[in-house]
Amino acid sequence: MRRLLGTTTAALSSAALVLTMAACTGGDTAEAVEDGGSATLKVWVMGDAGPAFTDLTAAFTEDTGIKLQVDAIPWENVNDKLTTAVASGDGPDVVQIGLSLLPTFADAGVLADLTDVLAEHPALAPSNFPDAVAPENLSTDGVALSVPWVSDTRVLFYRSDILAEAGHDAAPTTWDDMRSVAKELAQRGEGQFGYYIPLWDNTLPVQYTWQAGGDVVDADGAVDFRSPEFAAAADHWLGFFEDGSAPTATDWDQTQGFVSGATPMVVSGPYLAKAIRDAAPELDGSWSVTTLPADQTGTSLFAGSNLGIWKTSKHPDEAAQLLDFLAQPDNQIAWYDAVGELPTSSAALTELAGRGDEQLSVYVDQLDDARTVPMVPGWDLVANEMASALTAIATTGADKQSTLDAFYAKADEIQSNY
């Protein structure tokens, strides 16, 4: 018992010690934010890009004297973080916003109107960026609440070695090609497939709808899935599961599936290229990327992130300076070189395309024919309903028509709640 008491006392007293330490260090940090004549901007970036972002912006701090405090937010918890920041009105100065979350931010009214900023900073003018991310395409009223930062688009990754073995010198270029090649590759044996479709990805059926020549919003800007083009997209999507071309496992790892060759084709973004190089450098030369196989069009998804200024920021001018700095083609290229995220500046994209890197050219080409998901409130909820309806049909043999009808009704109901 005495020994136990000793241990407990030790634990308690070391706790007290740590507390004292914290009290001291805590005070220092708080002061650091306030001190100096110049402002310190709080910047939220997503994922683990924090250190790279700090490196990139070192020159900015040197030139302007504006210090940055960069905080990384885990991707999966962006919403928790956003919600609580909105609730308290206490946010960062500059925030990175994934395009799919943009409507939520806009709806919350936490982003500053950047119309004047755009006028004052020529580098931020919409004409410097692709049309897909022009303000009128990112919100219903066309008010600029954010400026483009990094882009990401979906292209077809394929294992050229496996396709060549099956007698295909080039990747499929049309929907029909895609179906037949995928089916053929799936017949290589047990556990082998032709194509991987991430079941959690609620954008691929939308891309298919665009490719079929349709859209998922009607002329009034309301979500609308009751179109022949969406029906065609759903059929195309489901077809890969019906003939066993795509795995139905929900925990399928796309990198590993591609590296092992079990799923030698997949539609994904530039980050997959990085993941493949990290996981299997020896595969270099045995795989490649190409623009999406087309139906009426080969339209892909324009994803990525924008940057916004928090409405209550005390340093909006300094924040605008940072946005200007990050929009410079040179800095966007430096960012691409550091972390592999594509620029949004058209000039930067053109310059990258001229580097002679084949894969890079494919991304840049595809960005020319790419659109963002609809910027309407509640989109995410509807899109997830769509993904679960399709998944249910593909994996549990749910009746197609009745499942889709239920989804249409659900989509209407969700719309009416927003």
Partner: protein, 311 residues
């Protein structure tokens, strides 16, 4: 059995006024700090949730409270009309009905075996059984994600060694329920084993020895003497386990995000998604209040049942 048991083996009576000290302001001073924290971070929030559940609070409402309007019981009506809510409720119910006995029996069985074994081996093994309880959920998700993985996971590899086909651990709705439940059982047993072990150590040897002299077999002694004497511990573990299954959240959140096809969407997960993924805070609050009431009713019923069992 009740007659045999000495007073100490019973749950401490709720009131024992004659022997307790009347300390004037002192007890209030001792209770106050903890109560302030509890009221501020548990009682007050649930009252707030009650108010919010009658409004259309969403993310713009959070930013600008003046845009929030009162909607009465509309959120509750929508909740009852939502098939996904009922699905989540059924899923949670199924997990509770199956999960509670599994956890209680498994923990009790391991505790009985450990107690029987005794010695240094048992105390070493005890640490092994406690390992899952101390592992952070983020780490749990990582490790089990790899074990279950359908392409390179260890479990399917081990099965393939004995010629069994690959199991779709997280991809098939039924298997996913099993897999997620297994991790929950794995995590929950550690602490319960310790509680049972403690209770077992509190049983005087005389009972067992007396029964042994009477020629009772070991199994008989366990069933007729040990287990009945553990009644309070079993009750305690059951009540806390029921509550934790009704609040089931961590495992499906990190392993399946409620999928495939909502097969593992528990009621807590459903509420979380409605609130934090889709920002419908009024609606989510209504859901959480319903869950709170369900938990309260189930717990009170259990307490009542135990009360009548004693008389």
């Amino acid at each position: 059995m009740t007659v045999l048991a000495p007073p100490r083996l019973q749950a401490p009576p709720v009131t024992r006024p004659s022997r307790r000290h009347r300390g004037g302001w002192v007890p209030y001073a001792f209770v106050a700090p903890a109560m302030v924290v509890l009221v501020a971070f548990a009682v007050l929030p649930i009252l707030v949730a009650g108010v919010v559940s009658t409004t259309d609070m969403d993310i713009s409402g959070l930013a600008d409270p003046s845009s929030v309007s009162f909607v009465g019981l509309e959120n509750y009506r929508r909740l009852v009309a939502d098939p996904q809510f009922w699905n989540a409720l059924r899923t949670t119910g199924a997990f509770t009905v199956v999960g509670v006995p599994v956890i209680v029996v498994a923990s009790l069985a391991v505790a009985l075996l450990l107690h029987r074994s005794g010695g240094r081996l048992a105390s070493t093994l005890r640490a092994f059984y406690f390992l899952p309880a101390i592992t952070a959920i983020v780490a749990v998700a990582l490790v089990w994600g790899y074990l279950y993985n359908s392409q390179f996971g260890l479990l399917n590899y081990l099965l393939s060694l004995v010629g069994l086909g690959p199991v779709p651990w997280l991809s098939d709705p039924t298997w996913a329920r099993f897999s997620v439940g297994l991790v929950a059982v794995w995590r929950a047993t550690g602490l319960n084993i310790i509680i049972f072990l403690a209770a077992l150590q509190g049983i005087p040897h005389e009972y067992d020895e007396a029964a042994q002299l009477d020629g009772a077999t070991e199994l008989q002694r366990t069933r007729r003497i040990t287990v009945p004497l553990l009644r309070f511990a079993i009750f305690f573990v059951t009540v806390t386990t029921v509550i934790s299954w009704l609040q089931f959240f961590d495992e499906p959140y990190v392993l399946t995000q409620g999928g495939p096809n909502d097969a593992t969407t528990s009621i807590s997960l459903y509420i979380y998604e409605q609130g934090f993924r889709y920002n419908q805070f009024g609606f989510a609050s209504a859901g959480s209040l319903v869950l709170f009431v369900i938990i309260a009713v189930v717990t009170v019923v259990q307490l009542r049942l135990r009360g009548s069992d004693d008389h």
